[in-house]
């Protein structure tokens, strides 16, 4: 009886592991907010363009470099990193790394960090007075 339970548990763990891509998908929502709101968010590499506040669904597999700007304020660069979280790596390890490879290739293994970005834009310096 006990052996049966352990076997069932083993099968559940084995079958349930390696499903980061199935459970979480290949994209992750990242919330981008700004103070003041209404700033433009640009991702030069993909050409993506949004206005804050916005929740953007980014591919998990790659890091993302964004530029947040608004007229009258200094633009700021924001970096969203792609990292392997310990939890999914540990769960994937149950399948002797086969599912780690699958999840890594498809992107489900990764977490985008930080998942919530609030950009505080400082006013642009006043333009220097030009002499006549």
């Amino acid at each position: 009886m006990a052996c049966g339970l352990w076997a069932a548990l083993g099968i559940v763990l084995w079958a349930g592991s390696g499903c980061a891509t199935l459970v979480r998908g290949t994209h992750q929502d990242v919330m981008i907010d700004s103070v003041p709101p209404g700033a433009e968010v640009l991702e030069p590499s993909s050409g993506g363009q949004w206005v804050t506040p916005i929740s953007v669904s980014f591919p998990r597999k790659h890091r993302h470099e964004l530029v947040v700007s608004k007229p009258g304020y200094q633009p700021q660069q924001v970096y969203i990193r792609s990292e392997v979280p310990f939890t999914w790596w540990a769960i994937d390890a149950f399948t002797l790394c086969i599912s780690t490879l699958v999840d890594a290739l498809l992107g489900g293994l990764y977490d985008l960090e930080p998942a919530h970005v609030t950009v505080v834009l400082d006013p642009a310096p006043a333009p220097a007075a030009t002499s006549p």
Binding site: V35, Q76, Q77, P85, P114, H116, T118, V120
Partner: protein, 158 residues
């Protein structure tokens, strides 16, 4: 013994980042609305990505505790300006594979607070470190703890 084991398991799973607050000059009044800036000390090297990450995580930690971070020059807002004297993410691989202090991460900073009129209102030092954690632990967790301690400096008791 069981508690020690549980603590080690939690540390490994969640990370063992810590940060301490040292109040150099107590605040004359809580600063619930501030503009924030920081500069690495001349001996500290931080790239743009590290500066952006620190700004994001500190803003997030302060905001989640009810401290409004606003643009510079906002009426009625004080300011908090930091000098980063240590920014050392360490080596995550060494923390994970070797441990025992190898690859440990450290952070040290001093923060000057000014009231809305621009007068000095307080000063504190926040120190953080990380020695172990899942996959060696993330330096982000140190910076988040630093943000929490900075929040305690700005609004004691929060």
């Amino acid at each position: 013994m069981t508690r020690l084991g549980l603590l080690l398991v939690l540390c490994f799973a969640l990370g063992c980042a810590s940060a301490d607050l040292m109040v150099i000059q107590p605040l004359t009044a809580p600063a619930g609305k501030v503009s924030m800036g920081f500069e690495p000390a001349p001996t500290v090297s931080m790239n743009d990505e590290q500066k952006s990450l620190l700004r994001t995580l500190l803003t997030s930690s302060l905001s989640s505790g009810g401290v409004s971070v606003v643009p510079k020059g906002e009426p009625g807002a004080g300011s908090v300006d930091g000098s980063i004297t240590t920014y050392d993410p360490g080596n995550r691989a060494l923390r994970w594979v070797i441990g025992f202090g190898a690859g440990s991460a450290h952070f040290d900073s001093t923060w000057s607070v000014k009231d809305p009129a621009g007068a000095p209102a307080g000063e504190c030092r926040v120190v953080g470190s990380l020695y172990m954690g899942g996959f060696g632990g993330s330096y982000d967790s140190v910076l988040e703890k630093v943000g929490e301690r900075l929040r305690e400096c700005l609004v004691p008791g929060r």
